[in-house]
Amino acid sequence: MATTITPNQPAPRISKAASEVDDRLIVAGPLRRTLNKVFPDHWSFLLGEIALYSFVILLLSGTFLTFYYDPSLSETEYEGIYAPLRGVEMSRAYESSLGISFDVRGGLLIRQIHHWAALLFVAAIVVHLLRIFFTGAFRKPRETNWGIGVVLLVLALAMGFTGYTLPDDLLSGTGLRIVSAIILSIPVVGTWVHWAVFDGDYVGDVILGRLYIVHVLILPAIILALIALHLLLLIKQKHTQFPGPGRTEHNVVGNRLFPAFAGKATALFFIVFGLCAGLAGLVQINPFWLWGPYNPAQVSAGSQPDWYIGFLDGSTRLFPAWDINLPGDYTIPALFWPTVVIAGAMFTLLALYPQIERKLTGDDASHHLLQRPRDVPVRTSIGAMALMFYGVLWLSGGNDLIADKFDISLNAMTWFGRIGCVVLPPIAYMVTYRICLGLQKHDREVLEHGIETGVIRRLPSGEFIEVHQPLGPVDEHGHGQLTYAGAPVPKRMNQVGGARRAVKGFFKPIEQPADVELEAQRERRGLAAAEADREVTSGRPSEGGRPSAGGRPQDPRD
């Protein structure tokens, strides 16, 4: 920055403009507070950001699509550029969707960006939700934000459904037919709701127009407002952080918003956008010109919904044929249970989980430090159990494809799913619980006995021991005195500086190897303050730790 101005003043013109703005808005104070806001740094904190950026991409690409799309169900004859469908009767909606794909310059790219970004949007929300769940970030005071997040997930699914219905191709029409049947299956009010939504019997001629306005106006407005609230609460309550040196319940350790965090966040937006654009160009998605226009009498075998609806498809396939026949010719259709009840119960439980956990554990305190999943085995195992249940449903949503590709009986796949969704989740619970305990135990063992170095030594007595590197001061038995504090414990020598860093440079070194060596030695001197760090023991009391053996073997490093 070669400038001629005094070091503590910005360039005069900018300074003047900034003063003019501040005279009017008095924003210098709030702006400084915002720029100084500290954000903790961890890769898993980026997942929510990915969801946010996908939504921005969806808004941009979706706006483009609205310029060309027509949600009309009136019949017309296709006369566009795509020869295989020329002369076919279809709705204006399908015709205009074909137009976006074939007659609008770059339209196919934007449409596929929109679809890929939608898949990524839901995926990022789900993975973000799992991160929040497994690290306990939903605990007091963040239960409200968890609830908002679950509502956002449900709205994202609704966005997905309304969106993929719009092209009015054979696949989306089949999906709409199933939704119509689901609405009809609601006891007592089902037919009334159906008549309100579809303006009569299936399919009528208003439904696409209604779904369109829901998709482009109502849902995006609600989602936008909830995202704003989600972020406001995040900023107000500050971000959680993993436990670590200097991190407490009363501070946040990380980077200030400007410039480091803002730079990384902007970079992530471009990378997410770039990935969507690259996928959109290179990987075809929903080529609906191959399915043809919707016809209630036709369906294609092996048709699949977008991935996030798969679990509902699966639960619907698995649920047994149990109509409940009530007296007086009233029926609760079997379809009602796997679609409305199971899905409703899943999302209700999810939304209420923070309250349930608070009730069961009696933990009423505010928490700002995250937990590692292994330290909360019950919650982690519950999560694994829920994921297993979801996974079996999801897999069953494609059980016809699995049966076909692997040459398995279709009915066997259905029975696998029916039994699996009951039997596998408890197994997942038990296995996860054991894994959590095992990981905990290993952490504590490393803290107590040090890192296994892989160096085998023979003692004068002839006994062989493995040399352990303690992580901190040790007592007279050679046991480490560090207590476990919920932070990651190094398990390999390289994580505690066992290897030196590489000399930088690609074709030729751009650093003097001697300087790197010096730097490494300097760092070692810095560490030497805690002299005990270097003591090498076998760790196990049965080995070098016995006082009878004259204390632990004292050997230089390396």
Partner: protein
């Protein structure tokens, strides 16, 4: 702050210490004496932020810095090239490049067009992002900052509660019950007015019997998708054909699609029609609704060796020789059978509409 050089500003007009603290603690002269880094840290401290540790960026002019600068510039440069490539493909197609539009005879450029656009746009955005990441990682100082988190303030809670309750007292709703009640009445009634227009959506599904009837009726011919009528000799034994009622729009009607199946002789010997429906078929022909009784998908995968019809949506299976009874999967009811016969000219016609509702089950569906 250079307040003094503003035109028309008098000393007594100048912005004072609005928030108390900082402007009283530090005079403009003191601030002018600090360098930018000191000011930065000072401001941060006021926001509860302490910068603990700064890993400096590579020294200016060092080989390390030059390498980092080269990498960042290269990423930005590549991003620009990708963006330009996008523009060339986008605008050049149909100008100096071949036409981009889909054409059945040429599968070259039009098939490459969208992938090239995606690569151009994606590459430009990704390399822009990568360049920024490299910039932040390699050229910015890595600072570790700590910000305090404050608990709620007892003072704030107490004073805010007093202000709120004072206001409520002055309004006096707890005391002035009549106003409270009448306001509640007006609010409730107004709420009704606001949601009332949605009542226009409500329609009676039980007027007539829309869910229980289809376009089929006595004497309506069974026609194919293209409108041609069907004669008994048209189909091979064991085959299935989708037929529609010969009425305007019949081939797009949501619930009328019907499967006309010609049974093989060995199937005929095993045929067990549903009770009271033995005469619904005609000879070795039976006609079942194509709309699945589970979720309304068209069932259409007919496996004639096992006599089963499979719905591809949720894998319900119906046995044709047992009156299309569901034998596996989530469907609970048989596919309704359409009573058929021949008309004077020897074409298939319906003898009546379906005698029960076709398609998915609903609350008040009549059972037969």
């Amino acid at each position: 702050m250079s307040k003094d050089d503003r035109a028309g500003s008098r000393p007594e007009d100048e912005a004072g210490p609005l928030h108390g603290g900082p402007d009283e603690d530090y005079t403009p002269e003191q601030l002018a004496g600090m360098d930018r880094e000191e000011l930065n840290r000072l401001g941060a401290r006021y926001d509860g932020v302490e910068v603990l540790h700064v890993d400096p960026p590579p020294a200016p002019g060092s080989a390390l810095e030059k390498q980092a600068e080269r990498q960042v510039s290269m990423a930005f440069g590549i991003a620009g090239l990708f963006a330009l490539a996008f523009a060339v493909v986008y605008f050049g197609s149909g100008w100096f490049l071949p036409d981009w539009q889909w054409a059945s005879d040429d599968n070259g450029w039009s098939a490459l067009y969208t992938p090239l656009l995606g690569v151009g746009m994606g590459g430009a955005l990704i390399f822009l992002g990568v360049g920024m990441v490299l910039f932040v990682k390699k050229l910015l100082p890595h600072e570790t900052a700590v910000q305090d988190k404050h608990d709620g303030s007892h003072f704030d809670r107490t004073t805010t509660a007093a202000t709120l309750m004072g206001g409520v007292d002055r309004v006096g709703f707890p005391r002035r019950k009549m106003i409270g009640r009448s306001l509640g009445f007006a609010g409730g009634a107004l709420g009704l007015v606001l949601i009332a227009p949605l009542g226009g959506l409500i329609k009676n599904p039980n007027k007539g019997n829309p869910l229980g009837t289809t376009e089929w009726a006595e004497g309506v011919r069974l026609v194919r998708q293209d409108g041609s009528p069907v004669r008994p000799g048209d189909q091979e034994p064991g085959s299935l054909e989708t037929v529609f009622p010969a009425v305007p729009g019949g081939n797009l009607a949501a619930d009328a699609a019907t499967m006309l199946i010609r049974l093989r002789p060995e199937q005929m010997s095993l045929l067990q029609p549903r009770e009271g429906q033995a005469d619904f078929g005609y000879g070795d022909y039976v006609a079942y609704s194509k709309i699945c009784t589970h979720a309304g998908c068209p069932v259409s995968l007919y496996e004639q060796e096992t006599s089963r019809i499979l719905c591809p949506c949720h894998q319900s299976q119906f046995d044709v020789i047992q009156g299309a009874k569901p034998v596996f999967g989530p469907a609970t009811r048989p596919l309704p059978e359409l009573p058929i016969t021949l008309d004077d000219e020897g074409y298939f016609v319906a003898r009546s509409d379906y005698i029960e509702a076709v398609g998915p089950t609903y609350w008040n569906r009549e059972r037969i």
